[in-house]
């Protein structure tokens, strides 16, 4: 357990190290996740409209 505590402590640099990795995860991961959700909703919307038009045509 002390090993794990030592790992999170990062030799006293915990704040700098974990905030660096955390901000990268939040910013880049956030864009990746948001892009994926946008794609899922765009596909749903565009395909639904395309099918409606098909029926009306």
């Amino acid at each position: 357990m002390s090993n794990l505590a030592e790992f999170f402590h990062m030799g006293g640099y915990a704040f700098y190290v974990w905030l660096s990795f955390g901000s990268a995860f939040a910013l880049v991961g956030g864009i990746v996740f948001w892009s994926w959700r946008e794609w899922v909703s765009t596909r749903q919307r565009v395909f639904a409209r395309a099918r409606r038009q098909e029926k009306n045509a």
Binding site: G11, S20, A24, V28, I31, Q53, E54
Partner: protein, 252 residues
């Protein structure tokens, strides 16, 4: 050449290629990043001068490399759009901007978080830092310009696409400035350790995770591109025949 460009620039072909590569890119990116994090945070030894703080390199350097790589890709794509009027190239350039801006912001933030314990300051107006900040403004300017010239429904207009593309192409002068800033000016930022002509000044146990994180970031960018490009193409081509065919196939 021209025929080739138009064949591979055709929206349904690009859409299909994106669908084909997307899952593989996503899995490969995740694998590289997880391996890089494990080796970088757990396996690699602490630095003899900087202790554990040097581990910030594993996000800082890949993010900084990507901030420039994505910008060059965006500028080349914009140039192709301006020269050959290729719609797909414009959709691609627009798709690259957000993640490029995210990488740039991460490079700046982690640089600041590394600078505080090592240099004793969050920020200095040195050439490397200032030119990287300018890169962030170029990305944000590109997106703001597109947004400002969009139509009321939020779709991009040809005026918006063209002016943003010109901004992206002109802004590329900043890339060599960022790259050579550490050599041209006497900066606080150190010169590069990895891409030197002789062998890199880093032990393999520390270098391997860095290369894995860099490969992971690169793959993640391409994965994100396949996702955003498909959104962009569907929006732009909503009324096209191929989208209707795809909608039918998707329903069954």
């Amino acid at each position: 050449m021209f025929k080739w460009i138009h064949r591979f620039g055709s929206p349904p072909v690009v859409y299909r290629l994106c669908s084909l590569f997307s899952p593989w890119l996503g899995v490969a990116a995740a694998a590289c990043l997880l391996a890089g994090l494990w080796l970088g945070l757990v396996v690699a030894p602490p630095d003899y001068e900087q202790g554990e703080s040097y581990r910030i390199i594993y996000v800082h350097v890949p993010a900084a490399w990507m901030s420039m790589f994505v910008y060059v890709s965006m500028a080349v794509s914009s140039a192709v759009f301006l020269i050959w009027r290729l719609k797909v190239a414009d959709v691609a350039a627009a798709a690259m901007a957000p993640i490029g801006a995210a990488f740039t912001a991460v490079a700046l933030l982690t640089g600041s978080l590394w600078g505080k314990p090592m240099w004793g300051t969050w920020w200095v107006w040195d050439a490397r830092l200032t030119s990287e900040l300018l890169l962030l403004f170029l990305y944000l300017g590109y997106m703001a310009l597109r947004g400002a010239l969009a139509d009321p429904a939020g779709a991009s207009t040809s005026a918006g696409a063209r002016s943003a593309a010109i901004l992206a192409v002109v802004g590329i002068v900043n890339i060599p400035i960022i790259h050579y800033s550490v050599e041209w000016w006497n900066t606080l930022h150190q010169p590069s350790t990895i891409t030197r002509m002789d062998k890199p000044a880093m032990h393999i146990s520390m270098l391997r995770p860095l290369l894995l994180m860099a490969a992971g970031a690169q793959l993640l960018f391409f994965y994100n591109l396949t996702v955003r490009l498909r959104s962009g193409l569907l929006q732009r081509e909503a009324r096209a025949r191929w989208v209707r065919d795809l909608a039918d196939k998707h329903a069954t």
